[in-house]
Symmetry: C2
Subunit: 352 residues, 2 copies
Amino acid sequence: MANDKNLALIYKKLPQGFPKAGQDLTVEDLGADAAKLPSDGIVARVIYSSLDPYLRGLLRDPSVKSYFPPLQLGAPVKSASVAKVEQSNTEDYKVGDLIVGRLPIQQVVAISGEELEQLKAAGLNKLDTTGGPSDIDQYLGVLGMPGLTAYSSLYEIGKPQKGETIFISSAAGAVGQLVGQLAKHEGLRVIGSVGNDEKLQYIKDLGFDDGFNYKTEKPIDALRRLAPDGVDIYYENVGGEQLEAALECMNTHGRIVACGMISDYNVKNPEDRYPIRNLMMVVGKQLTMRGFLVANKDFGPKWRQEHQQKVRAWLKDGSFKAKSHVWNIEDADKGFVGMLQGENHGKAVVKL
Amino acid sequence: MANDKNLALIYKKLPQGFPKAGQDLTVEDLGADAAKLPSDGIVARVIYSSLDPYLRGLLRDPSVKSYFPPLQLGAPVKSASVAKVEQSNTEDYKVGDLIVGRLPIQQVVAISGEELEQLKAAGLNKLDTTGGPSDIDQYLGVLGMPGLTAYSSLYEIGKPQKGETIFISSAAGAVGQLVGQLAKHEGLRVIGSVGNDEKLQYIKDLGFDDGFNYKTEKPIDALRRLAPDGVDIYYENVGGEQLEAALECMNTHGRIVACGMISDYNVKNPEDRYPIRNLMMVVGKQLTMRGFLVANKDFGPKWRQEHQQKVRAWLKDGSFKAKSHVWNIEDADKGFVGMLQGENHGKAVVKL
């Protein structure tokens, strides 16, 4: 059943500011040779790959140190993916097995025995869909890394208490949409910010109490309007002006879950980043602001089991909704840039 | 032994930007009538009063809400003070008793029975000097609120680990000088920033490993020079450019103890505050930044006993040093402003 084409999303050129589709990122056909069965490995067909904001930080000059190694120029972008084993020369994997891990965004991949060991050490697993949805993309979203990110950080840092108010920026994104539904589940008032009116409708459909479009209303005005009694938890995905507004409106003992600051990621000159001038609020209001990575032991590993159990059940009984925004592999470069520009409603994925 | 004069530090006028001595704050003689023994109260002679940065926030328009009520225009400034009971009409206090609490900065004060009850509820105590130093000013500094502030927050938020590096801004101040000595005691490398070269010598005399004068060297250059392996704990008293530099140099999992941001307190227009543009470091480096008030249960109340026991012992065996910077009551207005401008080496106090 070999398909002669083997399309992949390639990291072509170091971007300056926002990456450009077709220039910094390209979709190329690697041909059938790129997927020959290794003597001790497997060949797998990738079904879905995840597009996440953190990937932007991996398109960088390798001399810049950061928490995650950079991607390799000229090679396929690697990202969390679900794949199905098509051929196998190892007893560990049978044809038909589903696997989930950090794979190239490439239609068919060959993985040697040595690479399998490395991938396993980095978290490659067989995907067990027992008690979970049949939509495979969900295992990259609500049941994948973004889901675990949302779940672990909301509880570990946010410490939600019934009756409190949470403000979530990038609320229609992969993480934001889940944080809002979790917070509703805990009895909080939930306010979200989004970048267009369709997303505003989307988060209201998910059960958010209210929200605003930060492109048409200043965040500080919107928060004063929607959270007159103040904000207890700010779930931070954006940074900049929204962070400043949140600091202004936080209540005493408020918590800021610093998941991301995407507004700063694509700014070429540090001087062009939005300046924050009200951090003294952290002192007077006794705020806690904490950054985290889901791989850290207090987050992903600590909360993984509870996350899978609860969210699989909630998806099943319909109390939880989660949408994916799908780009086909032919448009994966546009999808990558679109995800960074906030075009997606829900989890951004590539369908291969 | 009545002294006809009864000098007090008066909050005269709402300051615009930096308070002006002799204008916004004045020293005035309230006369003997201001200290007549109440039928159910006491008369006490104030020995030392504390000058602390947080007092600046109390000279404000009463319509502005904050964590601590504003001071009353036209009345003496109230601050942590040690006083000796000179006359008493209540069995609770005997002539000669030392008391410590939030009293007017005024040579002789009359306190009614009702006021005594209110003060007790707010923390007025008899001062027990057992096992402690004979220098009364120490009970407002290293053994008072600044000492407890330093002790509780360093352990509760900073979580110092042997071998780590701590950077302390305003290192020669009341809190900073203690944090540095505590951190040395725990086996950390200790770097401090100060505003002149005499203070730089002072913190080195206290045992700090190194330091810099932020007025003659850019904080970012100094930190890169003095902490080439990065900073694990930033003890924040200043904000602005020093916070920005610290964020840049923090190590993964670093902690920022947000005790104060004095550089922002006297800025009239919020737009004139130093802009922070690198908060995304909080995400990538998994930093925790936390503000606190010493009155919060996780801080003062939790750590008070340990603080008193250990610091009294360390002062006695000489392993701990603490200096006060003394202004006489005649110059208390200049002292208040001088404290805000960082003229003090060590704890700023008024001697009455």
